[in-house]
Amino acid sequence: MASDQREFVLTDAAGAGSDVLQTLTAAGPEALSWANGGAVRSWRRIWLDTFDWRLYRAGLTLEQVRSGSSQAELVLTGRDGAIVATERLPAASKPEWPRLAAELPAGPLQAALEPVSGLRALAPVARAVSKLAQFQALNDDAKTIARLAVDRVSVTYPARAVLPARLTLVPVRGYQAQAARVGRAIGSLPGVRAGRDSVLEAVLAAAGGQPGEVAGKPSGLQLTPGMPAGRALSQILSGLLDAMEANVPGTLKDIDTEFLHDLRVAVRWTRSALKLCGDALPRGLAREYAPEFRWLGDLTTPTRDFDVFLLGYPAMAASLVGADADELIPFRDHLARSRAAAYRRMVAGLRSARFARLRTNWRAALADVRGTRRPTVAQLADAKIAAAHRRALLGGGKITAASPPESLHDLRKRCKELRYLVEMFGSLHDPAQRWQAVRELKALQDCLGEFQDTEVQRMEIRGYAAQMMAERAAPAETLLAMGEIAARLAVAQATARAQFDGRFADFAGPASRRRMAALARTAAA
């Protein structure tokens, strides 16, 4: 049905504000008449998506519609406007947003949404009120051959605006040819144009935005090789500050875990950029701000650590063999309580004058950066990537079977630095070449990440167990279940350690070295 329907936009000249029916009757084929399809209905509409527009990017539109005091309904449509799934929300409760797809009632809608939205909460991206009038196009036998909806949309969020009336002509099955004639007649009316954009796109455009826009995406910056390094670095860092600021409100409202995650990514990139490329900035700037960003990183670490634990909790509980999943519940409760306390401390920090000062001063400092002509950003990128690559090779080459875990942790940091540099200067390189160059690096990072994360988590579980015992919040069976989890982590860590030699050998092998070395030559070439 959706593929046959036609959309039009009426301007006032075509009678959008007055009698649409009269205008259409005058324009349609002679044997055609129009019937009014009943009273005009008013719909409250809310479009929902994740902060990073995952649904829109997947070609999906999620809308909550409600008429009068009726039950709210969620409608998920695909790129062609065809309905993918619907769900009536419980009558008693007022639908509250934002919330995760996992928190929606189980059913086809949740099943379609959850793989797309993942950990990100669905939140309103636009609100509007639609006044919908229905008409029927009748043939000479008074049979309905098409239905026409005239939709007058008033946008209330993100800004107030009124859209031109939109017409949707839907042929009745078996009458497509006659309906197409009606469509052509409507399309030829003065002041009528084909509606090419979706209602959501029109709503956002009227409110001064567009779907898919994510504030401060750190990897989106386009650099040109000849740019002075200082100015390029200032742009990169400004973009990262945008990303931090864009994620602060969502972090403070605790909308989903990914706001904090993305905030921390921007902080990490900033710290690495200051550490590795700070010499391209005005003297003293990196040294002045590095401690502040370290503070910001440390401020957010405990909450993120608890998030990681809680996100992994269902899998952790499901993996228990010797213990029952229910026996782990006091541990989950302890994590949730601890997370709440850590979150309060973090919020206080993010609302502090220190953080406000950091943002203001840092932005002003970056705006003042005047890059000299040499080095160019391409020269800087080549030199820094080559140096970071050398450091990673050197650090890894020293690791033997007898090396302590700290040496692997250090290597992980060196690999992260190399990866950040490759990503940060990504727009200077060919994407395919970049992908080739980091293939072995990614595999090595996964192994090192597993090795360190399992160790950290194992140590943290020990610490939590001690705390819970001190608080008398740990029954014996819970401690045993936590012991089983810790044992599993130890096995996973040992597996990662056993894989390390092979992964590093691949990374340090001649083919991988050649690809990374080539990447470190191309930007300035």
Binding site: D141, A142, K143, V172, R173, G174, Y175
Partner: protein, 253 residues
Amino acid sequence: MKILATYNIKGGVGKTATAVNIGYLAASDGYRVLLWDLDPQGAASFLFRIKPRVKGGGKALIRGRRTLDDAIKGTDFDRLDLLPADFTYRNLDLVLDAAKQPAKRLASLLAPLHCEYDVVVLDCPPSISLLSESVLHAADLLLVPLIPTTLSVRTLDQLTQFVGGFDGHQPDILAFFSMLDRRKKLHAEIVRDLPEQRPDVATAAIPALSVIEQMSVQRAPVTAFAPRTAAARQYRELWREARERARLPAAPR
């Protein structure tokens, strides 16, 4: 997909009125419904203002040269589609006779529609023929209108016996009284006693009321244009009993 068929050897007993109202009520409940007007007179098609014409005629459909899907028309009601009648349907027996396994032909033609519709209603012409046999084989539930007379009851027995002789799939039967005139003593007695004696007779009984005849003027189901009348109430009760008897799952609203 459940296939319901209104069937009686006699004409003018309310088959089409029942098919049209049951189809409408099923669609109103949220089921996706296809009504196939198999009667060459095309009364159901007329009631929905759809021209009783199928490109290539009944032969093209039965022989598979044209898919049912191609011939389907939307009615003016949501979720209710119609496969129109065609005057060539009068020769369907001959066409079926030339087909392989004629008794099962209708069922195999309808099979590809199972994803698209929840309920199919077959409005049969009055006869005992190869077509009606094919309908009986395809249907999950036969809705059999009975004029409350002794002879009608005898006809129901004959039908039950005939269907009971089928190998494999046998349709369930739900008879109901139609064109009921309670002023007639015989009508009143049969309607009172028979549903208690026979589980295959519905408690719903469609009265002989002029509002049902008005359907041909209004060109719509009585349940749509006069939903508060006694006739509409009885059709709703019949639909409720038919839905239970056919074990229809809840409508996917």
